[in-house]
Amino acid sequence: MYTASDLKKGLKVTIDNDPYIVTAFEFSKPGKGQALYRTKLKNMITGLTIDRTYREGDTFEPASLEERPMQYLYKEGDHYYFMDNQTYEQIIINEDALGEAKNYLIDNLNVKVLMFREKAIGVDLPNFVNLRVVKTEMWVKGDTSKADYKPATVETGYELRIPPFVQEGELITIDTRTGEYSTRVKG
């Protein structure tokens, strides 16, 4: 059982028997007032998003999902193919159901596929993945305006901002929970 103070982006809960994932979360507390936990929740089956506000003391059941360790294989159009690490059975997940996770899928990545009533409805990623920068501007050595991050594209097509010293072709670690650059992978 979760309480309102456990709420955070990515938490999966049961609402009206359906699994929902928290997609946005904001803690607010008007002067001397109650703590309010304002959330956007996405129904993991229908994909519809709802707004809900919770208060201190509210409780939730975790979403009843089965997690199966699988490996990402390849994609064809909107279909992403995964292979069960135990049974070698292959399954397909649609792009819509993957949501932001598609930004981090590189061949052979180990993920947890989330099953609800025997149907794959999404994946859980490792917190950090390494992806190669395929496009970014050159860094001019000695440039003193280096405080600002620059735009870059990684091998999955995902675009993010990275520090100026990272060059095209280098491997970087991305935090999949925030979608942000974490570190450069040396070597």
Partner: protein
């Protein structure tokens, strides 16, 4: 942390300027203990345990005891702790500026607030206008003053009274009212329903409201102020009712701050205010997240 260097340098400057302001205005800087045996009982503010005692959630009670003891103009800048408060505008260990003035009331505190923030903005080279999250906020006097009743009329379809009855007051405040406050000019939201009086005195002409205000800049709540309640009997009742709410919510019950209640008998008519220093720095530096104006967040420790 490295990328916050500029913000932390500015923060230090702002705090120096706050001290300079109060010293020039004839206030005495005081330091009261962080660890206390009995925090002010408030329904929705939870103290962090420290041994058998608590870390203060604000220096309010101790500073009022100093007022009662004859210190007439005092200020303090200190760390405070509130359990479980974490979000883009909250951090469980934060910095408060509190100041108290004998013989004053909440209306004159509004003027003093204006003066303080105008001075700080000028001191750090901001001039008459600050830009916060895309809003041009003009600091020139007079600032906007809006009663809670007016705010509900202007921004919502229900009255403050109905919202309280339906337990929607906080929700409506956060969702419909706060984002519209302090947008073109800073806003003093004042005259709170008596149910939300906390440690404020009720208005003589209209006891349905308390002499309390909150200051908003760019939708962000910056400060909370009262014409202080100085009737110990009445204060005890308020504390008991807050304690009862805590009990109903299944929260920890704090010991009654008896020494404060006793010494309160000696407290002169006065006004007091707590201003969130981290939030003020956020507004002056146009930062959206409180994380950007502190050296460490709890997650980084």
């Amino acid at each position: 942390m490295a990328r916050r260097k500029l913000a932390l340098e500015q923060r230090a400057r702002i705090i120096q300027k706050i001290r300079a302001f109060f010293s020039k205005e004839g206030y005495l800087e005081v330091e009261t203990p962080f660890r206390i045996p009995a925090p002010a009982p408030e329904s929705h503010i939870n103290a962090v345990l420290s041994g058998q005692w608590y870390l203060h959630t604000s220096p309010e009670l101790c500073m009022k005891r100093m007022l009662a003891a004859g210190y007439e103009k005092i200020f303090q800048i200190c760390r405070c702790w509130r359990e479980g408060e974490r979000g883009s505008q909250h951090i469980p260990e934060f910095t408060l500026l509190e100041w108290y003035r004998a013989g004053s009331d909440y209306l004159s505190l509004m003027d003093e607030c204006e003066n303080l923030i105008q001075t700080l903005a000028a001191d750090i080279g901001m001039g008459e206008k600050i830009i916060y999250q895309g809003h041009d906020i003009f600091l020139t006097s007079p600032w906007e003053r809006m009663t809670v009743k007016e705010a509900f009329q202007r921004f919502t379809k229900i009255s403050a009274k109905e919202a309280l009855q339906q337990n929607l007051f906080d929700e409506v405040m956060v969702r419909d009212i706060e984002p519209g406050l302090g947008i073109k000019k800073p806003t003093f939201l004042y005259d709170y329903p008596s149910e939300r009086r906390s440690l404020a005195r009720l208005k003589k002409e209209d006891p349905a409201v308390a002499e309390r205000f909150e200051l908003y800049l760019g939708g962000l709540e910056i400060a909370n102020a009262y014409s202080e309640l100085i009737d110990a009997e009445e204060q005890r009742k308020v504390f008991e009712s807050e304690m009862e709410t805590r009990r109903l919510l299944g929260k920890e019950i704090y010991p009654m701050p008896e020494k404060f209640l006793t010494e309160m008998e000696e407290m002169p008519a006065s006004a007091g205010i707590a201003l969130g220093v981290d939030r003020l720095v956020m507004v002056l530096l146009d930062e959206k997240r409180i994380d950007e104006v502190v050296a460490f967040t709890p997650e980084e420790l």
